[in-house]
């Protein structure tokens, strides 16, 4: 069965088709929510943001030029809105403090238990990355965005995307090492 493409839905949304909006929302809202939640780290804020993101889709559908996938376009909107929240909150500055606070609890019994499970430790370390590093890791691994698409969403050159991904992974390895897991890389 062939489903209606996102691009077709957006054209319908441009002509004020609410049903198309519902379909697009149903198709993407969870991933968009998770993307912004990973950035703003607050469920209520993330929920507010996704309705804002899709409202922008409703308003700007006629301007969608289809140069990128619809999901890439929506992630760009979501990122912009999440960063606005972070700026208002001043969380960019607090980010390192947040990470530091998590590291301070590295020897909690819960964490010690988690060390038995390398996957759990890795997931914990993923949450300790900076916003910039979390974002690129999520876009590449979870949202399945190509180098070009990440460049479009984040607004950086493709070469920088690769460099940033390298440093995000390097930081992840360092965090793992602090938890006693040496991956032998980089």
């Amino acid at each position: 069965m062939q489903t209606t493409s996102d691009e077709v839905l957006i054209v319908r949304i441009a002509s004020a088709d609410r049903l198309a909006m519902q379909v697009l929302f149903a198709r993407h809202h969870v991933r968009i929510y998770r993307f912004v939640l990973r950035m703003v780290r607050n469920e209520a804020t993330a929920e507010d943001l996704i309705s804002e993101v899709f409202l922008d889709v409703w308003r700007q559908a006629e301007k969608f030029e289809g140069r990128s996938a619809a999901s890439t376009w929506m992630l760009s909107i979501a990122r912009f809105k999440a960063l606005s929240v972070l700026r208002r909150r001043g969380e960019e500055q607090l980010d390192d403090e947040t990470a530091g606070a998590i590291e301070d609890h590295a020897d909690d019994p819960e964490v010690t238990l988690a060390k038995k499970d390398k996957g759990a430790v890795l997931r914990q370390c993923l949450t300790k990355l900076s916003t910039e590093h979390r974002e690129i890791i999520d876009l590449v691994y979870y949202h399945e965005k190509s180098v070009e698409e990440v460049a479009g969403i984040v607004g950086i050159p493709e070469a920088t995307v690769k460099t940033r991904m390298f440093y995000a992974r390097k930081k992840l390895s360092e965090l793992l090492k602090e938890q006693g897991i040496d991956r032998g890389w980089p």
Binding site: W58, G66, T127, D138, S146, L172
Partner: protein
């Protein structure tokens, strides 16, 4: 290992996350696969990437989903939005892309030659121009009540396949032409040159001038 090989290896290693996610192009995929087959250390590092990929998915999947409140809030906001003109608000380019997007790659591959696509695409562009003209109250279309058959001077025109919507709009505006019908088979449009009948010599002169324009592929007088 020499510098060139090191550079190549670093470049390939930089692509591993995208290879694991399946988002590389065919050429890069082949390069990475060839390198992985011949470089055990790179293959080991690729396993680290796959581990990261798996745990990133796991982490995101445990984040849950938003409550129905999000959708309710969205549609409440949409309801509060001012009503908009449904037909006029559709972006023409998006509509054409949507049309092609609605075709499966197989359909496109087997059913569409490049020429047919060009004509179809242009038909979409011109339909958009006609729609805009109609909404702007400017040019008349075939359905316009004032466009009585037999009145006016007309030509059949085929635009160059590479002519853009902007080129065609500019051509029509500059020469005070309006599209009154088409496209027929072969991508021909009927355009109105004047609101009243013109002497043949005058019409020939105008058509000859129009033929010189870069957007025109073919033009000939018609009734």
């Amino acid at each position: 290992m020499n510098t060139a090989n090191n550079d190549e290896r670093s470049e390939i290693e930089g692509l591993l996350p995208w290879h694991a996610a399946g988002t590389l192009g065919r050429r890069d995929t082949q390069r990475v696969e060839a390198a992985l087959a011949n470089d055990p250390e790179l293959a080991r590092r690729y396993e680290l990437v796959r581990e990261e990929l798996a745990q990133t998915i796991h982490l995101n999947e445990t984040l849950g989903a938003p409550s129905p409140r999000a959708m309710a809030a969205l549609f409440a906001k949409i309801e509060a939005e001012p009503a908009r003109n449904k037909a006029a608000s559709i972006n023409l380019g998006a509509r054409i892309r949507a049309f092609f997007a609605s075709l499966s790659p197989r359909t496109l591959a087997w059913s569409a030659s490049a020429a047919a696509l060009a004509i179809l695409l242009q038909a979409g562009l011109i339909a958009g121009i006609m729609l805009k003209e109609k909404n702007a109250g400017g040019y008349e279309t075939a359905s316009a009540p004032t466009n009585v058959a037999g009145a006016g001077a007309y030509a059949l025109i085929r635009f160059q396949p590479q002519a853009s919507a902007a080129d065609i709009t500019n051509f029509l505006e500059t020469n005070k032409l309006s599209i009154s019908g088409g496209p027929s088979a072969g991508g021909l449009y009927r355009v109105r040159i004047a609101a009243t009948k013109l002497p043949k010599a005058d019409l020939d002169r105008i058509v000859k001038t129009l033929r010189e324009d870069k957007v025109v592929g073919f033009i000939g007088i018609t009734e």
